[in-house]
Symmetry: C2
Subunit: 227 residues, 2 copies
């Protein structure tokens, strides 16, 4: 079961002259398990891309996400700075690419994995499991996720976010077809926003169990109207 078209795919089209960028996630269906994304890259380009991702990961491991300077990444990868930007568009793009694997895995799990996350379980169950999964995925990528957070205008248009939203919307519609599921989905997803999770856990010191309970309770309240 694949939705209309967005999986992850967070990179800009190859040349960026003229049209600043493909406005939203391109409509390319990807089978969920695929590791190599970029479809047709010239050999050297692909090689450099790999080097760059590798270098970025290394820098993060060493100096945290804050140490990931575009120039540093370029140097560490042994390429020029321009190359980084051509490949990933901007800093957010690079960081997002690093998160891509885990995003894809998550998608694979809730699109085609075993219940209760995947299809097979009743929608409410799936929704509950979904939140918990996102919650836990978020916490261990938290630093990166925060660093990758784009300017407010782009927050909601990113393909991977759209995928989550679509999934929640679909589930909600199965549960309560008469509600404004788009808006409810936004609300639910907002609860799972990395920035919020960061604030609650690190700044307020809440334990994960509480957030988890909070999610289940929220789902209850939001879906209780029906049935």
């Amino acid at each position: 079961m694949l939705y209309s078209g967005f999986m992850s795919a967070s990179e800009p089209p190859f040349p960026k002259p003229q049209e600043p960028q493909e406005p939203l996630g391109g409509p390319q269906l990807l089978e969920v398990g695929s590791a190599p994304d970029e479809p047709c890259l010239r050999a050297d380009a692909a090689r450099n891309r790999a080097r760059l991702l590798d270098a970025a990961a290394r820098l993060i491991a060493e100096h945290g996400a804050a140490g990931v300077t575009m120039e540093a990444v370029a140097a560490e990868a042994g390429v020029g700075k321009g190359t980084v930007f051509r490949r990933f568009g901007d800093r957010t793009g690079l960081l997002t690419a690093l998160l891509d694997h885990s995003a894809r895995n998550l998608q694979a799990d809730f699109l085609g994995g075993p219940p209760p996350l995947g299809p097979g379980a009743p929608p409410v169950e799936r929704l509950r499991a979904f939140g918990v999964a996102v919650l836990y995925r978020a916490v261990d990528r938290l630093d990166l996720e925060l660093a990758a957070q784009p300017e407010p205008t782009r927050r909601y248009s990113h393909p991977s976010v759209q995928a989550l939203r679509t999934h929640v919307t679909v589930l909600l519609r199965q549960i309560d077809p008469d509600a404004d599921c788009d808006l409810l989905a936004q609300t639910l997803l907002a609860y799972l926003d990395p920035a919020l999770i960061n604030h609650l856990t690190r700044q307020c010191g809440m334990p994960m169990e509480r957030l988890e309970k909070g999610w289940l309770d929220l789902v209850d309240r939001v879906t209780r109207t029906v049935g």
Copy 2:
């Protein structure tokens, strides 16, 4: 009825050597209607502060929020760049200061204004009115609000946000004392986030009426458990 201590007050303490900044909003009670915030500023400092805010507002009117460069503001105000930073800490601080008036007004309204926003109406009524008020306040300051959005880490620690959160939490506790009102408050506030409102209205083209209905519905669902 004033809560423990945060109104708006978005400026850094005067000298910023040593301790990077007062970590969270300082605990200074302010009567709600006060226009001049900064308590004890040297004459020249106060004068320059006013000039800077004025200059910034002018620049926004002329070139939009994007045109508000720290250097441009400094030039327009006829002061040095360092002065801008000492006074407002950073760009976000400056932009936030511009939003301060409307933030204060809103606070005054829900803390001491007439019902249903202010005290006197039943909590659920107040909550409904609150959301609608925030919604509409957000839309006409949208550009500025987006531009002022700080990095994810600071989003939730800003005094004016804390004030909103506290208010919602208090209302929720009156409605359903057994719930995890802190978490529910976060969820409700997330629905009112400027970035989300921007996305829904401008990028998705939803009319305000729908957002408004969505808020009322959300409040219903979240509070329906009780009563």
